[in-house]
Amino acid sequence: MTKKKEPDTWQEITTGCVVFQPGSASEYHTGSWRAQRPVWNNQKCIKCGICYIFCPEGCIQQSEDGFFQANMDYCKGCGICAHECWPRAIAMMEEG
């Protein structure tokens, strides 16, 4: 769990309980939900980006060399990328 951020007291509650910081949910790291992790074999990867587009977390990014990798802070280990990878370049490995 991320540590509790401001506001804390009733006086600090934002007016109308509005959240003013867009995308602040990224402070919460869902990577702890993961039981298995995707591992890319760049030898097989054809850089098509299917893993990127199908990731429900939107946590797969393309590196400068054109290969893809998941941000482990957020990857929940659903396995969609591995299952959808056309050249079978992604394998799911048990965590721990």
Partner: protein, 316 residues
């Protein structure tokens, strides 16, 4: 395996990299609905205001004091997303006209699950569409009340086992046919109605972009696989979305100004529904007889849809 059928292999890289729905949201592993929301936001771009109904997508994205949204977003209640969106549209229109906000075009989008669209939200949606607001409404249909624990809705398909229409000794679960929500929207004579599924991301994005350009009401019914509610493995989310289309259970089509058009993604020959049912726990109890009954209905509904395409061609 035909996973890249009708799919430009490298096209995903052409999709905008900008994420307007950020990681850190609390959707289940392998959630098809949250994937659809993510893709929708990409298609809509930042000049968007979203009004969301109560439901999974609302809960997973907006736990105070944080938010996964990077576009302006409002949630009020369960049944009124379309009414809230219509108010947002009217408010922005008035403020723009009076020069109190800048002149940019902002797309107002209402979103809800199947319950918030087809059951409790139907009246507000019908009203908003009939009034002709310049807004898109997207139904993320995962075929039951997942947020409250997988209770049946009018979007639940025949034969599915849910927590309020469970399969039992004398019941095979849901005993009613899924409500044909896109048809109800077509009956409102709005300019654009489409069905979509994130398993066909480019088709989905293209449809959202099309709806975005329409100055008037439009509706997209997005089929959203729910591994938790359907008791299916999370990695099969995309595959199941493809199968529901390939079996003709959820055909992809558009209705533009009353004209039906089957989307290019539809196969020439449909697969048997058994292929779609077999990996889902919610259908596991079904016997041959029930599957046959459902198969018949799927065939006839699909034929009806094809007939509409033909008839309307003749009518033109």
């Amino acid at each position: 395996m035909n996973i890249v059928e009708n799919f430009d292999l490298y096209a995903p890289r052409l999709v905008t990299k900008k994420e307007l729905f950020c990681a850190g949201h609390r959707a289940c592993q392998g959630c098809g609905e949250v994937l659809a929301v993510r893709l929708m936001c990409k298609a809509l771009g930042e000049n968007t205001v979203i009004a969301s109904a109560t439901g999974c997508m609302e809960i997973v994205s907006s736990l105070y004091p944080s938010t996964a949204w990077e576009v302006p977003w409002i949630h009020v209640a369960f049944e009124n997303a379309a009414a809230v969106a219509s108010g947002v549209e009217a408010g922005l229109k008035a403020l723009r006209k009076k020069g109190r906000i800048d002149d940019r075009y902002i797309k107002v989008v209402g979103m809800a699950g199947d319950g918030g669209t087809m059951d409790i939200g139907l009246q507000a949606l019908s009203g908003a569409m009939e009034r002709g607001h310049d807004m898109l409404f997207v139904c993320f249909d995962n075929e039951a009340y997942m947020n409250t624990g997988i209770q049946r809705s009018s979007g639940t398909p025949m034969g599915a086992s849910t927590t309020t229409a469970p399969a039992g000794k004398i019941s095979y679960g849901q005993k009613t046919w899924k409500k044909n929500m896109p048809e109800i929207m077509v009956a409102h004579n709005i300019p654009y109605v489409a069905t979509a599924c994130p398993s066909y991301p480019l088709d989905f994005i293209r449809k959202v972009e099309k709806a975005k350009k329409i100055k008037g009401p439009s509706y997209i019914h997005c089929f959203s696989v729910c591994p938790t509610g359907w008791r299916s493995p999370s990695h099969l989310t995309i595959a199941l979305g493809r199968l529901v289309v390939e079996t003709g259970i959820f055909p992809l089509y558009e209705v533009e100004n009353g004209k039906y058009k089957i989307s290019a993604e539809m196969p020439k020959k449909l697969k048997p529904i058994k292929d779609y049912f077999k990996t889902q726990g919610r259908f596991r109890h079904l016997g041959e007889a029930e599957i046959e009954m459902i198969q018949k209905r799927v065939n006839s509904e699909y034929d009806k849809l094809l007939d509409k395409v033909k008839c309307l061609k003749a009518w033109n």
